[in-house]
């Protein structure tokens, strides 16, 4: 086969899909290659909470039979993927990374789980995560925190920690993360992969354990932009089981895999994302500045814009998040607080101590932001920013309260619900990945994908893999 000189676990979904479709690669061989890779690396990475060897090999054999008999389902058919452990999986333990749900076995699949199954993907297992999608690496929970494949002494970011480490290290071709303040784009950026948070309502949250109803988003994490497009295609669309699910038609995202940003205007809110601030790493920002210049060379227009509400969006995101989380987790938090890890127990309790006035002011702030961003998007096509304020921190000396201090570059797009992608755009001097964030108009996933794809194909950072 053409890819014989490359390890199977380093194929992209796009590459493997072609081989699978043409019968040049067997889903069984591919799936086994990923379990071999997991066996070789997961004692160091701790990406997985649950492995589904028997089930996955059985699914792979079924996919092989289907493809051979001419019933090819599409780009995910026979593709080994994994799920953050808050996606309900029928008959399979779903822990949310917590002792609270240590033995919870759902009766039904979440809608995204079911849709990925329908697309023919192979579920390798359930992935590590920050407890209930909040906080940081916490040794008081039952599961070892995932480690960053680019430097095992560093965190992955979160909360989709295992999703990022698994995709980055070649343990899975793609994964789903979930995102309330940046939990898809953040770890994607810190682990050198692509993370796509779609528009609020684009992907059903039904059967996905809640952190904050009004800010939770579901989305893919993959090695390349095109792979995220394929995964989004499979999971997007209306679902009557999610009251916030949108009925907007789902376009063909593969049509956006074109290299063209000519004439597109990228708004850079420099006052918040690029200017000097104690919470922001200047080296990482400089990497993103350079990436923006590359887009300009490709025909994009860069425009500095002002969004005054940004200074308050982090506050709104945080207040809404912990207030809604408390409402959801209140019964367990009161009955069995000892089963929560230290970080999450503290933050959920704080959610119970905030007032209705705090919550409503935060929601009003959100509305202000939403309107302001919407007005800005009349004159620009996209927002372009660094994805994270810092590269991946070291475990040693890590302070979990750092995640609630300073600026957040991802939260503005959870608060406003706008689609946003993180695409790798380089490395720091110490070899840690840096991501560029591109956000767009509501339901303009096609535009966001095309812009990120154009940059990716030009910069080709996907050619560099971590050495683990």
């Amino acid at each position: 086969m053409a890819q014989a000189d490359r390890k199977l676990h380093h194929l992209t979904i796009h590459e493997a899909g072609k081989l699978l479709k043409d019968g040049e690669l067997s889903p069984v061989e591919l799936t086994q290659a990923f379990f071999d890779r997991i066996a070789d690396t997961d004692d160091r990475l701790h990406s997985f909470i649950t492995l589904l060897n028997e089930e996955a090999m059985s699914e792979a054999r079924a996919a092989e039979t289907e493809i051979r008999s001419g019933r090819y389902r599409g780009p995910l058919h026979g593709i080994p993927i994994a799920l953050k452990d808050l996606y309900d999986t029928a008959g399979i333990r779903t822990t949310s990374g917590s002792r609270v749900d240590f033995d919870r076995v759902p009766n039904a699949d979440s809608t995204p789980t079911a849709r990925l199954k329908e697309a023919g993907s192979i579920l390798l297992g359930k992935l590590a995560m920050h407890e209930f999608a909040l906080g940081g690496p916490d040794w008081t929970t039952p599961f070892e925190p995932a480690r960053n494949p680019w430097n095992l002494d560093h965190i992955t970011g979160g909360s989709s920690s295992g999703s990022a480490s698994a995709v980055s290290s070649g343990q899975a071709m793609g994964a789903l993360g979930s995102c309330t303040g940046g939990s898809i784009r953040g770890p994607a950026s810190l682990c050198g992969i692509v993370g796509l948070k779609p528009t609020y309502g684009r992907v059903s949250r039904s059967g996905v354990v809640t952190l904050s109803w009004s800010q939770d988003h579901v989305g893919p994490m993959t090695w390349t932009v095109e792979d995220s497009a394929y995964m989004l295609q499979a999971i997007a669309g209306y679902d009557p089981k999610d009251p916030t699910s949108s009925k907007a038609p789902v376009p063909d995202y593969s049509l956006s895999l074109r290299e063209d940003v000519r004439g597109k205007v990228f708004g850079l809110p420099r006052h918040y994302f690029f200017d000097s601030d104690p919470s922001v790493n200047a080296e990482a920002v400089a990497v993103v500045e350079k990436a923006a210049e590359e887009l300009e060379k490709l025909g994009a227009k860069l425009e500095t814009i002002e969004l005054p509400s940004l200074d308050y969006v982090r506050a709104a995101n945080t207040i809404i998040m912990v207030s809604e989380a408390f409402a959801y987790h209140e019964p367990n938090l009161k009955k069995r607080p000892q089963d929560f890890g230290e970080i999450v127990r503290a933050r959920f309790r704080i959610g119970g101590m905030l007032s209705a006035g705090d919550y409503l002011q935060a929601q009003r702030c959100r509305q202000w932001s939403k309107r302001e961003f919407s007005e800005a998007l009349r004159s620009v096509d996209f927002f372009l920013t660094p994805t994270m304020t810092q590269p991946a921190a070291a475990f040693e000396g890590y302070d979990p309260t750092d995640t609630i201090k300073g600026r957040s570059f991802t939260a503005p797009f959870n608060v406003t619900g706008l689609p946003a992608i993180s695409v790798p755009c380089g490395f720091t001097e110490s070899g840690l990945p840096v991501g560029m964030q591109i956000a767009g108009k509501p339901f303009d996933e096609p535009g966001v994908i095309q812009a990120a794809y154009t940059y990716q194909q030009h910069a080709r950072w996907y050619e560099t893999r971590p050495s683990i």
């Binding site: 506050a315 101590m353 905030l354 009003r364 702030c365 959100r366 309260t401």
Partner: protein
């Protein structure tokens, strides 16, 4: 953020009890400085004059 907001232990305990959290003294002492970080955020959203700004409504009666 100019001044770091603070809350007295008495007031903090009152809020924790009102929320029904049932925390002992050591838990209260652990949580109070973290709560004070969040107070910076609540102070920020209360510092804005929103005028007639509505809150986000996600509820759709259909």
């Amino acid at each position: 953020m100019a001044e770091k907001p603070e809350v007295s232990m008495e007031e903090f305990k009152f809020m924790a009890d009102r929320a029904g959290l049932g925390m002992d003294q050591s838990e209260l002492e652990h949580l109070k400085p973290i709560y004070e970080l969040y107070m910076e955020y609540t102070a920020m959203v209360h510092s804005i004059n929103f005028g007639s700004e509505e809150m986000v409504v996600e509820f759709h009666p259909d």
